[in-house]
């Protein structure tokens, strides 16, 4: 019998939590190797959007994923497989990579905790179009209504992998992926279970694309986080899934460990629905919270994977927060934002960036951001703009969302 959610016995000492599998898909490609190569060299990939019509949009580029011809549908029935949409495809690809790498085949009780902001939004858009234009034509509408719901997309992953564990979906805007990993980390530390499949996913959708355009947040040139001449964010799509496991469980089966999740912090910014506090109060609190739970200080951090969207307000607020958090350490603390390479992946961003951190920890390099020329006046830290090797033992990854949910993760190299 699966344990009750409440009450349950907390372990006297929370277990250490490690990553034993990671799957990733971005505009740079599918899988750990292809992405590690791209992020290490600072490659960027933005193409004209082909998922929907952008002819009347001001911005026409995004970091769009190129899906492979075949999707690993695992144990899905042919009927289920026929319902797999774009977002679920990315989720299945990355879940398969993480699951296989972790070697969890046969475990039927793994819970899945994922972050998303849009779920099956593209299906919702198709539903709306058909309901408005041909309201008495019902073909495919029931399938769209089902698969629009994020929990049905995620249940499909459970079915594909053969696990019946709980499904939890967190939608904390752009912090969703980081919060999902943080929740999974806490799930294991609280003793709810020894393993969790976690991460985030989001596919491009016309409504969200238009939404960011309406807010005048999109760059018409290139995404240049922390650059003095930055002019906005660029959207992307993708997914990352991580297999989180207690250290004891990983050791018992002699699993390969990719890294350790050391700490997680979250804080709320009530300043404005879409704008961060100018002094980055909540960003600072999230970073401090993550470091406190990891029992490290900014002096122990070797690299910051910033939220760094490339918007005027986010980057100045985050830069000030990093400066306040790091103090004198900031002067030599490398910082970069992966959004310059793959755009803003919204609900997937935190999960993809956590995997990038694992890559940096494992490969001992710093992820450079392309197109960076001149730092913003608020930057008290060096922005990594060229490929470089470095000793990287402990890193922090930031995600800050609409609605003021800020979250940070601390990850450590496994040696």
């Amino acid at each position: 019998m699966i344990p009750m959610l409440f009450p349950h016995r907390h372990p006297q000492q929370p277990p250490r939590v490690v990553v034993t599998g990671a799957g990733i898909i971005t505009s740079l490609g599918l899988g750990w190797d292809r992405n590690a190569e791209g992020f290490q060299s600072g490659k960027s990939e933005f193409l004209p959007v082909s998922s929907f019509d952008v002819s009347r949009q001001k911005v026409k580029l995004a970091a769009q994923v190129s899906l492979p011809p075949s999707i690993p549908t695992g144990l899905l029935t042919p009927r289920q497989s026929s319902r797999v949409d774009r977002a679920t495809s990315m989720l299945l690809l990355t879940a398969h990579e993480a699951w296989t790498q972790a070697g969890w085949a046969g475990d039927t009780s793994v819970p899945v905790i994922l972050g998303t902001t849009a779920g099956g939004m593209a299906l919702g858009e198709s539903y709306f179009r058909q309901a408005v234009t041909t309201p008495d034509h019902h073909a495919l509408q029931a399938t769209r209504a089902l698969q629009y719901q994020a929990h049905n997309q995620v249940r499909m992953v459970s079915d594909a992998l053969g696990t019946d564990g709980a499904v939890r979906i967190i939608s904390n805007a752009c912090a969703s992926g980081t919060d999902a990993i943080g929740n999974a980390w806490e799930w294991i530390r609280r003793g709810h279970g020894e393993r969790v499949l976690t991460g985030g996913y989001d596919a491009l959708s016309e409504m969200v694309f238009t939404g960011f355009g309406s807010l005048q947040l999109m760059s018409t040139t290139t995404c240049r986080p922390f650059d003095a001449s930055r002019d906005g964010l660029m959207l992307g799509e993708g997914a990352a899934v991580l297999a989180l496991e207690s250290l004891d469980s990983a050791r018992r089966r002699n699993a390969t460990i990719l890294g350790e999740i050391l700490g997680y912090g979250t804080a709320i910014d009530r300043h404005h629905l879409t704008q961060p506090h100018p002094q980055g109060d909540a960003a600072l609190a999230a970073m401090c919270g993550a470091c406190d739970s990891a029992r490290v200080t900014s002096a122990d951090i070797d690299y910051v994977n910033a939220h760094g969207t490339g918007t005027l307000l986010n980057d100045s607020s985050e830069a000030i927060a990093i400066g306040r958090w790091a103090g004198p350490r900031a002067a030599t603390l490398p910082v970069s934002s992966s959004k310059a390479c793959i755009g803003h992946l919204l609900g997937a961003a935190g999960a993809v960036e956590a995997v990038i951190c694992l890559m940096a920890l494992k490969g001992q390099w710093l992820p450079p951001q392309p197109n960076f020329e001149r730092p913003d006046a608020t930057c008290t830290f060096p922005v990594v703009s060229k490929p470089q090797s470095a000793r990287v033992d402990t890193v922090i990854s930031n995600s800050f969302g609409f609605g003021g949910v800020n979250a940070s993760l601390v990850l450590r190299r496994w040696a």
Partner: protein
Amino acid sequence: MSRIFVAGTGAVSPAGWGMGPLRNALQTGTPLPIQPLDRPGSSPLRGRPVPAPATRPAFLAHPRLRRASPITHYAAAAALEAMAPLLARPAGIRRVGIVACLDAGCVQYSCRFFEETLKDPATASPLLFPETVFSAIASNVSSLLEQPPSLHTLIGDSATFLQGLALAADWLVDSRVDACLVIGTGELNWLLADALWHLDHSAVLTAGAGAIALVCDESLSSGTELKAITSSHTYTSRVSRHTAASRMRQQLPAPGPGDLLCDSLGDNSRTNRAELDAWSDWTGPRLSPRRILGEGLVAATGWQCAAAVDLLNRGTHTGANVSVAGTNQQAIGARFARHDFPQPDSTPQHP
């Protein structure tokens, strides 16, 4: 083992704004009237809209709520009602967590914004878009309260409200918060009703919010304790809705004499079957809010919990099992009990 108590409840439903109208509607036991819901095409849909409030809620004057959608209004009203006993205390409550549980989110503004997108993306309103984001609702509610240290939005099927209660319980046990507000909320519009019709022809969609405020401090309790939440029994290709509901029932502690069962039965005999079978031996009093109020999805599970706690606080019962066989994700159950009464053995019925 930490104990968790219910400090307050709140509701907005098709019966009206507040716990009072909800209580009256459930006591009367008559299904609320159904109204036609216009949509493109030939035949109207059916719905049970939330009536306008008798007086304009004061919180609507808050700058953050001026442009907010009805779903935020429902969530805020239910949240403030649930928090009222805590907010009224002279010392107040310092750290309040918020877990908002949603199914489709802000569908009214989403439809409007997407209509504008299709018309001309260059003129789509920047005021609408931020309110369509799932997390906007919890964010708006948080602006009405003291700064919460934790705020999460969970999305899922109707049973997700009980996942929210479990997350809140974790935060309280971890001492991350002093109180935690769990809100289940949903909105009504033609598109969502149309989508529900494609999945369940008999369901009548409604809207509103249900909220529960939880605390660890017994002195802040309304008189009811949260005793248990089962695991989330996910419906998968190997675990049917029927099996999941049965496992949920088996995990709930044995009821005491005169206990209440507050279930998630609606108007669809096919989807009701799993829960009816799981509780086939139940002979005690039973309350099925959806049969009176309509299919409020995750908000309706909030009403289930709020109604059960309300009956316990009023002394009608000493214990209540809340049973939810969710729409298409999971079955979860919860047990609440008066904490001034001795309780039966709290171990699961069929360990």
